[in-house]
């Protein structure tokens, strides 16, 4: 009898605890971790029976304004686009229409800046591994280790193209893409321009460089001028052959097409970042019978160049071109670092496939930057 009495007491306590849990409401605000201090996480727990809620945020005058929720009865919300270290005040009002009752809870929070984007941990690790590999191979090249790099026919053909232009007495056209100087493809393109201009200067062949942006124009002039100096032909350098056309994409294409048709260059180089204009340029060049070499890392434009040009630098070949042409040991060493990166990527893909088949999704999530 005594045991039953105790059991009843325990059951009563349990029931009251559950009732308390169901009737207790909470509203917490916490800083979103691993971010720029621009977001707060708002969580709330409401007793059963509350069928409507209203979330409000205080403005600079401490007047509460309604916030829009995607779903009417969610239990959490992330408020973003906030300023770090500012204190934000929120108010949650929940309504129970059946009992004509409402709850009112206030809370405040302060977003804090963090020192690391945790969801980018995998990117950082990969970058460190790849960067270390490149530095390692560069150091090895510095110590005198000789590295083999495969032949890139598009770059080997450069001599042939310049030779042909020299024989025909026609100029060489070099288009450094349609992107600004902040695009790494444009930088890679200018690096190739330096090598090409030096050879053109040695052969006394004219080089035409139409530019889409004034910043590219300025850099291209400097690169070509330096190349002519290196070749010992500063007198042959003509600044007016490296010129600005227009910022407009199709205006630029029209200008280049005009040059191709009027001046009929013997060799055309389209190296850099290209978009919709790639085929228009390459087909116009093809119609004049010029030797054409193209290169871009924009995968969608590669088929157009492959069809219309004699040689095409695909993706990374554009970035490897400068090292390949200069034959500088350190630069060639860095290309070995690229190869190591490719091996690493292949390995990660194979491991990822095996783990996904085995139902282990954490590896893919980690590499894709989960946890943001």
């Amino acid at each position: 009898m005594k045991h039953i009495y105790y059991l009843l007491i325990v059951l009563l306590l349990l029931q009251s605890a559950m009732l308390w849990a169901n009737t207790t409401s909470s509203f917490t605000i916490s800083d979103k971790p691993w971010d720029k201090g621009e977001a707060l996480i708002l969580n709330w727990n409401l007793p059963d029976g509350y069928d409507r809620l209203n979330l409000q945020k205080a403005d600079s005058l401490m007047v509460y304004q309604d916030m829009e929720l995607d779903e009417p009865l969610v239990s959490g919300f992330v408020d973003d686009n906030l300023d770090p270290d500012e204190t934000y005040h929120y108010r949650l009002i929940a309504y129970n229409d059946a009992l004509a009752d409402s709850i009112f809870i206030e809370a405040q929070g302060q977003p804090k800046e963090n020192w690391f984007y945790m969801h980018k941990l995998s990117f950082l690790l990969l970058f460190l591994i790849l960067g270390s590999a490149i530095v390692f191979y560069v150091m090895a090249a510095r110590r005198g280790k000789d590295f083999y790099i495969r032949r890139i026919s598009g770059l080997d053909s450069m001599e042939e193209a310049i030779g042909r232009a020299t024989e025909k007495g026609k100029p060489i056209l070099f288009v450094p893409g349609i992107s600004e100087l902040d695009d790494i493809q444009t930088i890679a393109s200018l690096s190739i321009l330096g090598q090409l201009a030096q050879r053109a200067a040695e052969y006394n062949t004219e080089i035409i460089v139409p530019c889409r942006f004034a910043m590219v124009l300025s850099a291209a002039r400097e690169v070509v001028k330096e190349a002519y100096l290196k070749a010992g032909r500063p007198d042959a350098y003509r600044e007016d052959r490296i010129f600005y056309l227009t910022d407009d994409q199709f205006g630029y294409v029209a200008g280049i097409d005009g040059i191709i048709v009027r001046e009929e260059p013997a060799a055309n180089f389209f190296l850099g970042s290209f978009y919709a204009e790639s085929l228009i340029l390459a087909e116009t060049g093809l119609s004049t019978g010029a030797i054409q070499t193209a290169g871009t890392a924009n995968a969608h434009q590669l088929p157009f160049f492959v069809v219309s040009c004699d040689y095409t630098l695909i993706g990374e070949e554009l970035f490897a071109a400068s090292a390949y042409l200069s034959r500088d040991a350190q630069q060639v060493g860095s290309l070995k670092g690229h190869d190591f990166g490719k091996l690493l990527v292949i390995l990660l893909i194979v491991v990822g496939i095996i783990l996904e088949i085995a139902g282990q999704g954490w590896f893919k999530s980690f590499l894709m930057g989960a946890g943001s």
């Binding site: 690391f116 124009l217 190349a227 009027r262 890392a297 860095s334 690229h338």
Partner: protein, 232 residues
Amino acid sequence: MKRNIPLILAFVSGLIVIFSEFIPHRPFSSIVDSLQEWFMIISGFAMLLGVMSLLRMNAAKVSTRSPDWQYHLIGIISFGLMVLMGALWGMEEQAGILGQGASISAWLGKKPFDYTYTHVFVPLSATLFSLLAFFIASAAYRAFIIRTLESNLLMIAAVIVILGRTGFGTMLTGWLPESYRFWHLPNLADYIMQYPNTAAQRAIMISAALGVIGSGLRIILGIERSYLGGDK
């Protein structure tokens, strides 16, 4: 020294940009925006250099009566007209030296600058873009001539994708029973685009991304200097 300062600047700027990719805390979170703003300011000033180059090049062609000098003259006149119209009456909501140009806008329906842009510049751009349709046809013709096994495969894949994207392709294989739905041309086209095509494109993109990292590191570490004009 002349070469070292740009190299130091490239090294420091490169490191800041790399750090800011992983560190959300100030100053790294805001410094990249500042660097981009600086770039825009420098671009704005460099624009003047571009305009000078454009005018000088065209003026030289006109003054020396080089072949097709008339086109260069038209270029200079067009440039001058646009600058003049923009300066006198402004563009869109912005007023020019002569104000909003209400009377001329009422006559043309728009401000002269906007009118010329809409009725001359835009159609010219569209005309040039439309050339792409014809160039695609000629390029496709050359690409699909069967010479080798690869071009044969390319042509078969292209025919499937082209037909699969049209109603005619649906009609051609629509009679196949549901159990053979993979062989419906639209599904075959989707398969080619989703798997072999995406796989090949991703391979190119991954290798290009590695090239970007390598190039970036070469520039930051000062190994690659040809963008500065030379090695020494």
